[in-house]
C-alpha cells in the first residue's frame, strides 16, 4: 500500500478519536438544549471548572488561596493531603450538582420565557463568571491532571498494523479510553432518557413545557437535573481533555469547537452530536493532512466552522435535527 494512503488512514483514525472528544462536549450542549431550549455556551468553561476543581481537590489546594493571601497577608497553599482520584471525582460531581442548582436558582429561573438569544448571552456571561471563579479558586497556571488513565502509544495496534502494512499506526491509549468512556456515557444517557422516570420527565419537558407542568412535572427539578447532567458530562470531558493536554484556558475553547459539531448534527439529537463530532474530527484532520501544507497550515482553526457554515446553507436544521417549522 502506498505511504500516503497509510498516513491518511492513520490521520482518519486519529480524527475519529478527536471527534469522539468533540462529541463528548457537544453532548452536554444537547442535553441542556433539549430540556430547556438554552444554548449553553458555558459548557466548555464548565469542563475547565470541573477539571480544575478535580485537580485542586486531589492536590488538597486551598480554594481562593491567592485572594486570601492577598487580603489577609497569610501564606496558604495546600491542606497537605492528597485525595485519591475516585473520591475526588465524587466530590467534584457534588460540586457540579451544587453549581447546577445555583445556576438554576440564581440565573435561569429569572430568565424563563426570555428570547433564546438572551439566554444564550446569559450563558456567555456565565462562562466569563465561571472562568474568573475557576482562576480565583484554583489559580490560572497550567495544571497536570492524572487520574490514572493509561497514556502513550498503544503498542498492540502499533504491532498489528506494522505486521499488516509494514507501518505502525500511532494511536494514543488515552484516546482509546476516551472513546470507550464516551461510548458508555452515550449509551447510559440514552438509556436514562428512554427508560427511567426522570428521563421521561425530561423528554416531556423538552416536548412542551406547559403540558409537562400541567401533568405535575416539576420544571425546576428537571432543569437542575439537566444542568447537573451537563455538569457531569463536562467533568468527563474535562478529565479527558485535561489528561490529554493539561488543565488550562484553552480547554474552554473546545466549547467553540463543539458548536459546529452541533450544527452538523442538529441541536436536538444525541446521535447527531456523536456523528457530527466524528465528521468534524475526521474532516479537519484529513483536510489539514491533504490541503494544510498547500494553504499554510493550522487550517484546524477554521475548517469546522466553514464546513458547518456551508452545510447549514443547504440543510438549516442539521443532519438529524427536527425540521424547523415557522409560523407567524
Amino acid at each position: 500500500m502506498p505511504d500516503q494512503l497509510l498516513f491518511a488512514m492513520e490521520v482518519t483514525l486519529n480524527g475519529l478519536m478527536a471527534g469522539v472528544l468533540y462529541a463528548l462536549v457537544a453532548l452536554g450542549f444537547v442535553l441542556i438544549f433539549k430540556a430547556s431550549g438554552i444554548f449553553n455556551y458555558a459548557q466548555g468553561v464548565m469542563a475547565l471548572f470541573a477539571a480544575a476543581t478535580l485537580v485542586g481537590i486531589m492536590d488538597g489546594q486551598v480554594p481562593f488561596s491567592h485572594l486570601i493571601n492577598a487580603t489577609l497577608g497569610t501564606d496558604l497553599h495546600h491542606f497537605g493531603w492528597h485525595v485519591p482520584a475516585l473520591l475526588a471525582i465524587l466530590v467534584t460531581v457534588v460540586v457540579m450538582i451544587v453549581l447546577a442548582w445555583l445556576v438554576q436558582r440564581l440565573v435561569m429561573r429569572h430568565l424563563v420565557n426570555q428570547e433564546p438569544i438572551i439566554l444564550f448571552m446569559a450563558t456567555i456571561g456565565l462562562a466569563y463568571f465561571l472562568e474568573g471563579l475557576s482562576d480565583l479558586m484554583w489559580g490560572s497556571e497550567i495544571k497536570t491532571l492524572d487520574v490514572g488513565l493509561p497514556q502513550g502509544i498503544n503498542e498492540t495496534i502499533d504491532q498489528i498494523t506494522y505486521d499488516m502494512f509494514g507501518y505502525g499506526f500511532f494511536i494514543d491509549n488515552l484516546d482509546i479510553v476516551a472513546t470507550v468512556i464516551a461510548g458508555i456515557l452515550v449509551i447510559a444517557l440514552m438509556a436514562f432518557n428512554q427508560y427511567t422516570r426522570e428521563g421521561r420527565a425530561l423528554r416531556a419537558v423538552a416536548d412542551d413545557h406547559q403540558a409537562a407542568l400541567s401533568v405535575g412535572i416539576s420544571l425546576n427539578f428537571v432543569w437542575v437535573l439537566v444542568w447537573s447532567l451537563a455538569g457531569f458530562v463536562a467533568l468527563v470531558a474535562g478529565v479527558m481533555w485535561g489528561a490529554k493536554s493539561g488543565v488550562q484556558f484553552s480547554l474552554s475553547l473546545i466549547a467553540l469547537k463543539a458548536l459546529p459539531v452541533l450544527m452538523l448534527g442538529g441541536f436536538t439529537s444525541i446521535p447527531g452530536a456523536i456523528v457530527g463530532g466524528l465528521i468534524i474530527g475526521v474532516g479537519e484532520k484529513l483536510f489539514e493532512f491533504l490541503l494544510g501544507p498547500a494553504l499554510g497550515g493550522a487550517t484546524e482553526n477554521w475548517f469546522a466552522y466553514v464546513l458547518a457554515l456551508v452545510f447549514l446553507v443547504f440543510r438549516p436544521q442539521g443532519l438529524f435535527g427536527e425540521k424547523i417549522i415557522e409560523r407567524v
Binding site: 438572551i118 456571561g125 466569563y128 458548536l259 477554521w302 457554515l309
Partner: protein
C-alpha cells in the same frame, strides 16, 4: 421641570424632524460636542488618551456598528473581531501601497472594504438565523484571523508577521506612527466617532432603520408586509461592517500602531464588543457609547482600586475582572435587558415629571 417638551414649538418640518426634538436634549448634545472638541484636546495627556479616551472612542464606533446589526436588525454576530481585523489589514495595505493618499481616506476605504467582506459573510443569514447564524459568523472570525496570519501578502512579507503603521500626517500633524501627540490622535478618532454616530442615528430613524427593526421583530411577518429581507439583512451587514472596519483601522493605525492579528482581533474582541452592546443597550446608539465607556472604564477602575490601592497582584485583579464582567452581564440581562440606555430613558422620564410626579 427642566426636561420637557411643553412650550417647544416647531414651525417647520425641518425643526420637527430633527435628531433631538426636545430643547434640553439638543443643548446637552451641543454641550457634549463642545466639551469633546474644544475642552478635552487642551487638557488631555498621554495616559488619559491611551488608557481611556482612545479605546473608548474606537470601541464606541465598533459598538455602534455591532448594534446596527444585532440591536436593530437582530442578527447576532460573533465575528466582530474578524471584521475589525479586515479593517486594520485593509488600512495597512492601503497605507503602504498608496503613501501619498491622505490617511483619512484610507480609513474610510478600509471601512468600505470591510463592508464588502461583511456582505459576503452575511449571505448565509438569508438561510439561517438565531444562534445558527452566530456560529456561522464564528466561521468569519476564525477564518479571517487565520487568513491574515498565514498569507504573507497581507503583512507585506514582514519577518515578524506583525503589521505596524507607518507615519502619516493630516494637515501636517502626525496622527499615526510613534511620534504622535495625544490631542491629535484623540481628535482624529473623535471626528470618526461623531460622523459614525450621526450617520447611524439618522439611518436608524429612517426607512432603512425601520426595515431592520421589522426584520428583527419578526422576519416572516416583515416579509409579508413587503420588507425585502435580502436587502434589509445585507444592508445591515454592510453598514455594520463599515463601522466595525473603521474602528479596526483606527484601532490598528492610531491606537496600537503595531498589531499581531490573533492577539488584537481574536474571539475575545468579538465578545467584548458584544458585551458593550448588551450592557449599553441593544437597539440604542446612546447605549453603544454607554456600553463602550463602561467596559473601557471597568478594568481601569478595577486596576486602580485592586492593584494600586489594595495592593493585590495583577493576575488576581484580572481574574476578578472576568468574574465581575460575567456577573454584570447576567445581572443586566435579568434586571434590565435593555441595558444602560434604558436606565437613561427612565431617568429622563423621571426628570420630565419632576417635581410633580403625578
Amino acid at each position: 421641570m427642566i426636561y420637557r417638551e411643553a412650550g417647544d414649538f416647531s414651525s417647520t418640518y425641518v425643526e420637527d424632524s430633527q435628531t433631538f426634538p426636545i430643547k434640553f436634549d439638543r443643548y446637552r448634545y451641543y454641550l457634549v460636542l463642545a466639551v469633546a472638541f474644544l475642552v478635552v484636546p487642551f487638557v488631555i495627556n498621554d495616559y488619559w488618551a491611551n488608557a481611556i479616551l482612545l479605546p473608548f472612542l474606537i470601541y464606541a464606533i465598533a459598538a455602534i456598528g455591532l448594534n446596527i446589526l444585532t440591536g436593530y436588525c437582530g442578527q447576532v454576530s460573533l465575528g466582530t473581531g474578524g471584521f475589525m481585523a479586515v479593517g486594520a489589514y485593509a488600512c495597512y495595505k492601503l497605507m503602504t501601497a498608496f503613501p501619498d493618499v491622505n490617511i483619512f481616506f484610507h480609513v474610510i476605504l478600509s471601512g468600505l472594504i470591510t463592508a464588502g467582506v461583511g456582505v459576503l459573510f452575511g449571505l448565509p443569514s438569508l438561510r439561517i438565523k438565531g444562534f445558527y447564524l452566530a456560529v456561522a459568523t464564528l466561521a468569519a472570525q476564525f477564518f479571517l484571523v487565520w487568513l491574515f496570519n498565514r498569507v504573507p501578502w497581507f503583512y507585506n512579507y514582514s519577518a515578524s508577521g506583525q503589521i505596524s503603521a507607518p507615519e502619516r500626517t493630516l494637515f501636517g500633524i502626525e496622527v499615526t506612527g510613534p511620534n504622535t501627540e495625544a490631542w491629535a490622535t484623540y481628535l482624529f478618532c473623535l471626528v470618526f466617532l461623531t460622523g459614525s454616530a450621526i450617520i447611524a442615528r439618522n439611518l436608524t430613524r429612517g426607512t432603512l432603520g425601520r426595515t431592520w427593526m421589522a426584520i428583527r421583530d419578526m422576519d416572516i411577518a416583515a416579509e409579508i408586509i413587503g420588507v425585502n429581507p435580502l436587502r434589509a439583512k445585507l444592508t445591515a451587514f454592510a453598514i455594520s461592517s463599515f463601522f466595525v472596519g473603521i474602528s479596526g483601522a483606527l484601532f490598528f493605525a492610531v491606537y496600537l500602531g503595531a498589531v499581531e492579528v490573533g492577539e488584537a482581533f481574536g474571539i475575545q474582541k468579538s465578545f467584548l464588543v458584544l458585551f458593550m452592546v448588551i450592557i449599553g443597550g441593544l437597539g440604542s446608539i446612546f447605549g453603544s457609547f454607554a456600553g463602550a465607556a463602561f467596559l473601557v472604564l471597568l478594568p481601569v477602575v478595577l486596576k486602580v482600586v485592586g492593584a494600586d490601592m489594595l495592593g493585590w497582584p495583577t493576575d488576581i485583579v484580572a481574574h476578578l475582572q472576568l468574574l465581575i464582567v460575567g456577573g454584570l452581564i447576567i445581572t443586566f440581562l435579568i434586571l434590565e435587558p435593555h441595558g444602560l440606555a434604558q436606565l437613561w430613558r427612565v431617568a429622563k422620564e423621571k426628570l420630565r415629571l419632576w417635581p410633580f410626579p403625578h
